[in-house]
């Protein structure tokens, strides 16, 4: 058991790394999709730059949420300072606590990108409908926020456990 406990920090760190990595990659891909579609609209109508930019940036938030969870986890497990004495079970729990934002962050960023691209197409045709068009990708954000919330609660909760 003592030998296993040495791996606790490794699992906890893996969770933090994945939280920064996976939603970050997905957001980069998603923002790029929005950028490509946005560039198409701007080529034809440069006046739509502001509207298109907002839609492009919407799926970028998952990367930020992942970064936030990674930062909190790193603080809690002592990688950024303090004690890094974490049991094997606690390490696994930190890993599990990071999973909501890892999985939902990735998936929601890609899905939100598709909704954002569709909305950019709406702006291309009906710039006056920007307000309505923005709602559709924004709705996808709900699920990324829910995952973020659970990951924050779980990471903070795990730190208080005496195991």
């Amino acid at each position: 058991m003592k030998l296993l406990n040495e791996y606790g920090i490794a699992f906890a760190l893996l969770g933090a790394v994945l939280a920064a990595l996976v939603p970050g990659i997905a957001s980069a891909k998603a923002v790029s999709m929005g950028g490509v579609a946005g560039a198409g609209v701007i080529t034809e109508d440069p006046a739509q730059f502001g509207k298109v930019l907002i839609l492009q940036l919407l799926p970028g938030t998952q990367g930020i949420y992942g970064l936030l969870i990674a930062f909190i986890t790193l603080s809690q497990i002592g990688v950024l300072g303090g004690s890094s004495d974490i049991s094997f079970v606690k390490g696994l729990l930190y890993f599990a606590a990071c999973l909501p934002i890892v999985i939902v962050g990735y998936s929601s960023a890609i899905k939100q990108a598709k909704a954002a691209v569709a909305s950019i197409n709406v702006v291309a045709k009906r710039p006056d409908q920007f307000g309505k068009a923005m709602i559709f990708p924004a709705m996808v954000e709900t699920y990324a926020i829910l995952a973020l919330l659970i990951s924050i609660l779980a990471v903070n909760g795990v730190s208080g456990l005496n195991i």
Partner: protein, 335 residues
Amino acid sequence: MTGLKLKNKSKNEMTDNLYLYAVARIRSRELSLLNKADIDQLMNCKSEKDALQFLKDKGWGRDGAETAEEVLMAEREKTWDLLRELVDDMSVFNVFLCVNDFHNVKAAIKQAYKGTKIPNMYYTDCTLDPETVKKAIIEQDFSLLPEHMREAAKEAYEIQLHTGDSQLCDIIIDKAALETLYAEGNASGNELIEQYVELKVAQADINIAIRSVKTGKDKDFLRRALVPCKSLDIEKLIESAAMGMEAIYDYLNKTVYSDAVPALKESAQAFERWCDNRIIEYIRPQKYNPFTLSPIAAYLLARENEIKTVRILLSGKRNDIADNVIRERLRDMYV
């Protein structure tokens, strides 16, 4: 198995994302397509000159394009210039151009047979250089042609030169053209293009069957001319054609083309209009699709339909045809 599914999913996503820029630009361009109100305004023009002026005010034509045909040609060129700008691999549009290659083969065979060149007899919008096609036929070097054209071109050339039977020559080339169109369309993996080629081949088969009844052609002729497709049973169509026009209508009433029967009974032009409108029905959902090649293909077909409609309208105005007669010939618009 899961690995294969993931690989396919990833490939589909890549294909989806390939045309994001192009589709966004196409969306903006769709704003300048003629809608029903524009067509009504064109109809209200008193003369062809007024209608042309209306189109020029809408940005149609280029500098120096004066006649209706020059304006329409300029619009077609503009569409292809835009597509060339948007899509790196233009081979995805071969399905819309391959038939023109076969037209050029036919033109070259006629030129070789008659020994005279008719001006503007070659299409320039095609997948093969018209000069190469001409050289292949005139010099009988069929190896210059792609494999799928070689055999048909050689057979048609020999029949034209040895028997002078232009109709048989045309049938061989037309059949090869339709077979190529069908194969290209089905190989595209794009549902819209598959629907398009299915309709085009079925339209050609129905037209051939109807004409064969009118001209008293036999079953062997039909077997030689018709191209198999999924939506028609060629053998049943041949049997029906042998029995007469009503039998063809009865057979078509049992197929997905039952709606076309009233148009067929009316005239060949009405059937052509029905087919063009059906294509517009197929492409209309693409107005709301931000991914894949389909919205771009839909834009191309919408432009072709628009140019055809304007040509009919201008021709009607030029020849003082009554407005109600012109209206009957107009196609539905995409936007």
